[in-house]
Structures are given as C-alpha cells and as structure tokens.
Symmetry: C2
Subunit: 239 residues, 2 copies
C-alpha cells in the first residue's frame, strides 16, 4: 500500500515527462531489445523510420543510439544496406547490481497478474485469422528451441504475441511494458536456471487453449504460469 492517503490527486496526476527525451528514447529502445523485439544479429529499422515512429527528431534518436552503441549493445554499418545491428551482448545482461525496490516488485507482479491472464482470455475469445494463429505458433516453436541465453527474450516475445492476438493496442503496450519491467527485475537476481521444461509445457498448453478458443482455460493456465516467476521474485526479495 502506498504511504499516501486515498483519493490523493497525485495518485492519478502522474508526471508528463519522466526525464530527457533522449533518456526516454534510450529506455524505449532498451525495452524493445529486452523484450526480444530485435533479436541479436538483426538490424533496427532505419534511423529516419525509427525517429518518425518514436515521435522524436533524428538528432535525438541518434544521441540515444550513440549511447547504446557505446554501451556495446549495437553496431553500426554505413552504406547502402547498412544499418544498426543488435549485438549478442545485448541479450546477456547478466546479474546487474542494484537492489530490488519492493514497491516496484509488488506493482509489477500485481499488474502482470491482471493483464496477462486477461490477454490470454481475450485472445482465446477472439476470432483469429490464420496469420495470427501462425504467428503465435511460430513464437512458441521459436521459444522451445531457445538456449539459456535467448530464453528470456523469446519468452517475452511469446507473451507479447498472445497480447497481439487481442488486437488492442493499449493491451499490447501494457503487456510489453510489464514484460520489460519484469525482465529488468529478473536481471537483478542471480540466475537460477528455471525449470525450462515445465515452462515450455505451460506455454504449449496456453497456446493450445487459445487456438481452440477455450478462454477460461487460457486464463487459468496463464495465471498459473505467471505464478512461477512471481514466486521466484518474491522469494528472492524476502531471502
């Protein structure tokens, strides 16, 4: 519970800006990478394209890219068919220092437990076109072939794919942001190799429920699935 009283205006009236445009741009890009949107080896859209879609000037975007490049996440190649490439090191951001903020943890876990099962439920209710079904299946297959290093990103990717099936941009964004926040938290705890096999079984079951339109089941399965990570994080905080 926040220490503020209830009905307090600033619980609703949040900051319009959370820092430099430049910093926020970095954060957006990092989030996209963390979440597996741009797998290592692939390249980002062109600067002009990215800048336009991020609603930021190319100059500012380039500042952000320069920072990420210096931090070793990106490599830039010039010329025709050049571009900005994601390096392997972008994925393996192992065990960064810094303690976990209990408030942040509570907030993320609560919100996640709200939207992800709901996303699965809505997705299962939707009338999915073939392309959607294929995309989900592809993400699942991809995830099941993942190695230790690529697992987290592909996991996020899969969960976002589920959200995409809902066709609700707000819901997609919410899931993506929550995934990024979760990943940031997971980066702060020593990596006990999770039970990937069990997770993969759950992913498969969730996919199945969604594809056959079993909304209630999809919801329940997703909720169970999330509980694993949640318990891990909570446990580490207390320990």
């Amino acid at each position: 519970m926040t220490s503020e009283g209830f009905g307090h205006p600033y619980a609703v009236l949040r900051p319009v800006r959370s820092g430099n445009t430049f910093e926020e741009t970095i954060e957006h890009l990092l989030q996209a990478i963390r979440v597996g949107l741009f797998p290592p080896g692939q390249k980002l859209p062109s600067e002009r394209d990215l800048a336009a879609h991020l609603g930021v000037s190319r100059a500012t975007l380039r500042e952000a890219l320069a920072e990420l490049q210096q931090a070793g996440y990106l490599e830039v190649r010039r010329g025709r068919y050049g571009g900005t490439y994601i390096l392997e090191s972008a994925a393996s951001t192992g065990a960064e220092e810094g303690r976990i903020d209990p408030e942040e943890l509570r907030d993320v876990l609560t919100f996640r437990a709200v939207i992800e099962p709901a996303a699965a439920e809505v997705a299962a209710q939707a009338d999915l076109p073939a392309s959607a079904r294929q995309h989900l299946q592809a993400c699942l297959t991809d995830l099941q072939a993942a190695e230790q290093g690529s697992y987290r990103a592909r996991d996020a990717r899969f969960h976002i794919a589920v959200a995409e099936l809902t066709g609700s941009p707000t819901l997609i964004t919410a899931v993506a942001e929550t995934r990024a926040r979760t990943s940031a938290l997971l980066d702060k705890i020593p990596l006990l190799p999770a039970n990937l096999e069990h997770s993969n079984q759950q992913h498969e079951a969730i996919t199945g429920a969604i594809l056959r339109g079993d909304a209630a089941q999809a919801r329940t399965l997703m909720a169970d699935h999330l509980e694993g990570t949640a318990a891990l994080l909570r446990g580490f905080l207390e320990g």
Copy 2:
C-alpha cells in the same frame, strides 16, 4: 484487428512523445478534471506544486493553465490563499462534435473490460485498512447523491477509488486513463439519461462485495456493470 501484420515492431515501439509538453500537460489536466479529481468549486494545487508533480517547468504549466482558463474551465485568484479554481462549466462538456473512431472504441472497451473487473477482484482480496474502506464508502455515498451534471465525474471517481484499493500505482493510472478515454467517448454521443438507479444498485453491490472480501463476486459484478456502458457505446456506433 489492426491492419498491420503480427509481430510488427511498431506495435510495441510506441511514440516517446505525443506532442508538445505543453499540449500533453493540458491533456493531463483535462483528464484529471474529466475524471472528477477536481470537482467544480475546488482549487488546484499551487502552480509550483503541480509543476513539480507533473515533471514540467512552471512556465510550461502556466501556458497550459492559461489555455484552460481561456477555454473557461478555470478561474484564477491572486494573493495569499488564492489559487486556480475549477469552474462549473468544466463539468458540463455536453455533446462535443466529432465522430467516434471505431478502433479507439474497441480498444478502450477491451482494455476497460480487462482492468476494471480485475481491479475490483484484487481490491476485494486485499487486506484493507479502515481508511481505505471509508474512502470507498465515501465515494459511493457521494456518487449516489449526484445530480445529472455531476454524475459522470463522480462515477469515474468511484471507479478510481476501487483501483486505489489495490495499492498498485500502475493499475490506478491505467484505470484513471481508461476512464478519461471513456468519458471523452461518452461526450460524443447524445446523452440518453442512463438508468442511474440501476447503476447505483450495481455500485452498491460492488462496494459490498469488495468490503466483505468476495473477490469472485466483485469481479463479476464489475464486469456486468461495465457492460451497460459498453453496450450503449457500441449501439451508438452501429446506429
């Protein structure tokens, strides 16, 4: 369904900025007013305070306030114990022109149906302190005493109060934003005086379920309650 394909980067990589700081500030303030955070007659926090909490310079905040003042939403009084007061006209933004975007409608209704019932559920599960229970009850009483003009804002206020009980800032913000978006949509349709009595019964039942900790019931009741407005909006879009 969005026209873009699935797995498209820009479904996740959203704009960092959605306009001038100044415009966004206006939007934030308007949202707060629409949502009943500042009832007519009351005054806003001091400029210095507001600016700090909105993460915006006082100069920019003042630009926004000037705009809202010119639009007839606010009145300013100087001197000690002066301040910026919300005018009555701020509430009665009846029937603005402009068509409803079907995509926006779909998105809002989907998202709302996801988070609000969930918020009610989480609130019911929480171990609520006396102050929380009182606040919810107060919002309910306030709402039930509302006139035609003040109803929408107090309704929003009540729903946000439910979200506040969850103690999750992200969830609170999400509910508040969704409420503001819904209100904006409702402003665009002719006001058929909704069945306030029925709504009030629902509000009372929801409050009851939350206060006695019946999570499943709270969820169901909230979902039913939302369906009313959803049907109204959908119906108007098709008609």
